[in-house]
């Protein structure tokens, strides 16, 4: 009787262990699916675009013929755009973070700002486009210009920068803040001389990651009127402009197959820029992580 029972348990045990093994393989495979598509995507983009990628492609303006088209206007436009976005969003974002972490009283209004930022991060980017269209394009009368696009993008990534900067400011050890106050430093002196220098690596990393999100954003720029065919570089904040993702979108939508290759080449350039930005962020993080 006892032996019978034991045998049953053993049998069931083997079954349970087998199912465990099978599902483990299944889970592993599921994880692999995401990775496989990542590889497929890179492979596809590379094979499609590499043929059209050349120095000429990088230095040419858009053209009516695939062989002559280039991404120069988009590349420079994106760079200008990012400069505006970086200046505006980092200043406002870091200030907001310092306010929330160091100055804000613990009251309903502060809590409201916090929840508000959390919710802004979940608003679809295209809605920010509509915001920019109403305010920057029409109400402030900037028209379809670089500054309108830059400000729209800056607001879009503001929540990401605020959250990253908050984390960086929060991670500065309380002991060294105490040390500063203990020396008779004022609040702002402590922030400017101790907290910010210690938080800068974290802030930079967060800002670059946020910017790399902005540089690939397309939808809001379409709404605030980034142009598709631009044959000069923007000369002022109030100039018309284009950006890399806009050019890629435009080329992708054309029926002739050649334009897909042109778009592919554009994607390679865009991804290369993203890769560079993210590598810088990782480098900064690794360099300073040991310090604190």
């Amino acid at each position: 009787m006892l032996g019978q029972n034991e045998q049953n348990i053993k049998k069931r045990m083997e079954g349970r262990v087998a199912i465990n093994k099978i599902l483990m393989v299944l889970f592993g495979l599921a994880t692999a699916v995401g990775l496989v598509f990542l590889v497929l995507l890179f492979y596809r983009v590379l094979t499609q675009g590499i043929g059209y990628l050349s120095l000429d492609y990088i230095l040419n303006f858009p053209a009516p013929y695939p062989e002559e088209a280039g991404i120069y206007a988009g590349l420079i436009g994106s760079v200008f755009l990012m400069i505006i976005v970086a200046i505006v969003s980092v200043i406002i974002g870091v200030s907001t973070a310092i306010y929330l972490e160091e100055y804000a009283p613990k009251n309903k209004f502060t809590e409201f700002i916090r929840v508000n930022i959390q919710n802004l991060a979940g608003v679809p980017s295209i809605v920010f486009g509509l915001l920019g269209l109403t305010f920057f394009v029409y109400m402030f009368n900037f028209g379809y210009t670089l500054i309108a696009g830059g400000l729209t993008m800056a607001l879009l990534i503001l929540p990401v920068i605020v959250v990253a900067a908050q984390e960086a400011v929060r991670s500065v050890p309380a002991e060294i803040k105490e040390a500063s106050y203990g020396m008779g430093a004022s609040k702002w002196q402590t922030i400017a001389r101790v907290i910010l220098p210690a938080a800068i690596p974290g802030i930079l990393t967060g800002a670059i990651i946020a910017l790399s999100r902005a540089i690939g954003e397309t939808a809001p720029l379409i709404i605030v009127g980034a142009a598709t065919a631009i044959y000069t570089l923007p000369e002022s904040l109030l100039a018309k402009y284009t950006a890399m993702p806009i050019q890629i979108y435009n080329w992708t939508g054309r029926p002739q197959e050649e334009w897909q290759y042109v778009a592919g080449a554009g994607i390679i350039v865009l991804l290369a820029v993203l890769l560079i930005m993210n590598s810088i962020a990782v480098l900064i993080r690794n360099k300073f992580q040991r310090r604190l």
Binding site: K106, P173, E175, I176, E178, A179, S180, Y181, G182, M183, G184, A185, S186, Q189, R193, V194, P197, A198, R291, L292
Partner: protein, 282 residues
């Protein structure tokens, strides 16, 4: 251990005999000798009272030790003396603390100013993630001293004052985080010395250090009292006996006994003090 302690304290009696007679009653009379006078100090964290009616006069250019079991309010008391305790927003105080006859809780008295006079060294070494030089020059700089030559002098003088100049004079531009714990703590002492304060508060400055570093810091404290009034919180009674002139015993937020160190350790007047110093205490 007891024997050693006695020997040390005896030595100090001899030293101390050269000084004007100061005892608990004497202090009140010789007001000129008190640098900080605390009277009827109460302190609450929210609704929890942490200090009860503390009155205590701290003598100038001596080492005053504060002892007591953990949670007795000794660190809180220390941080009240330079108003660092108010960094916690829910803290409320009543009573009076006078530094050189000026009320520090008065609205007119700036806490930034108080802290240049009453410096602090913390429990855990807490240098800034900057160079040794920038650490020591921090205080003078925030108070508007910018000239390189002046700062150079201050840094050298302060590091010498903290007895670490010889070890670090060639490493002034290194990040202070790379130093050993004992070196870090002495850099922190140098940082506190740089603004030439009147009083130095030390919150268990050796609790995070190894015995050799501890000995160095203790030695340093003995030297520093020539120029500064020092108040040191310690959980280590032997340390208090070794380095202090006067000792205060705190228990549950009350000042139980405050007397000359030798007196307090040899003839405690209060039963609770006796229990604590003889180790008969939880």
């Amino acid at each position: 251990m007891n024997g050693v302690m006695e020997e040390k304290t005896n030595k100090k009696v001899n030293q101390g005999s050269a000084k004007p007679e100061v005892n608990k009653e004497g202090i009140k009379k010789e007001k000129a000798n008190n640098i900080i006078e605390v009277s009827d100090l109460n302190l609450w964290y929210g609704s929890d009272q942490a200090l009860y009616e503390v009155s205590m006069d701290v003598p100038e250019k001596q080492v005053t030790a504060i002892i007591g079991p953990s949670g007795c309010g000794k660190s809180t008391f220390l941080k009240t003396l330079n108003r660092m305790v108010e960094m916690v927003p829910i803290v409320k105080t009543s009573g009076s603390i006078k530094y050189r006859d000026q009320e520090i809780f008065s609205n007119k008295y700036k806490e930034e100013y108080l802290r240049t006079k009453v410096g602090m060294v913390f429990q855990k070494p807490n240098p800034f993630p900057k160079s040794v030089y920038d650490n020591v020059a921090y205080g003078p700089r925030i108070h508007g001293i910018k000239k390189k030559e002046v700062l150079d002098q201050i840094v050298e003088k302060s590091l010498k004052g903290a007895a670490i100049w010889d070890e670090l004079k060639d490493r002034l531009n290194e990040n202070a985080y790379g130093l050993s714990g004992g070196q870090q703590q002495r850099v922190c002492i140098a940082r506190a010395l740089a603004v030439e304060p009147d009083v130095i508060l030390m919150d268990e400055p050796t609790s995070a250090l190894d015995p050799i570093s501890t000995a160095k810091v203790e030695e340093l404290v003995q030297e520093l009292k020539e120029k500064y009034s020092i108040i040191i919180v310690t959980h280590n009674m032997q340390q208090a006996a070794r380095i202090s002139d006067k000792t205060a015993f705190f228990l549950n937020g009350e000042l139980i006994e405050f007397a000359d160190t030798d007196d307090l350790f040899q003839n405690p007047h209060d039963k609770r003090t006796e229990d604590y110093i003889t180790g008969r205490f939880g």
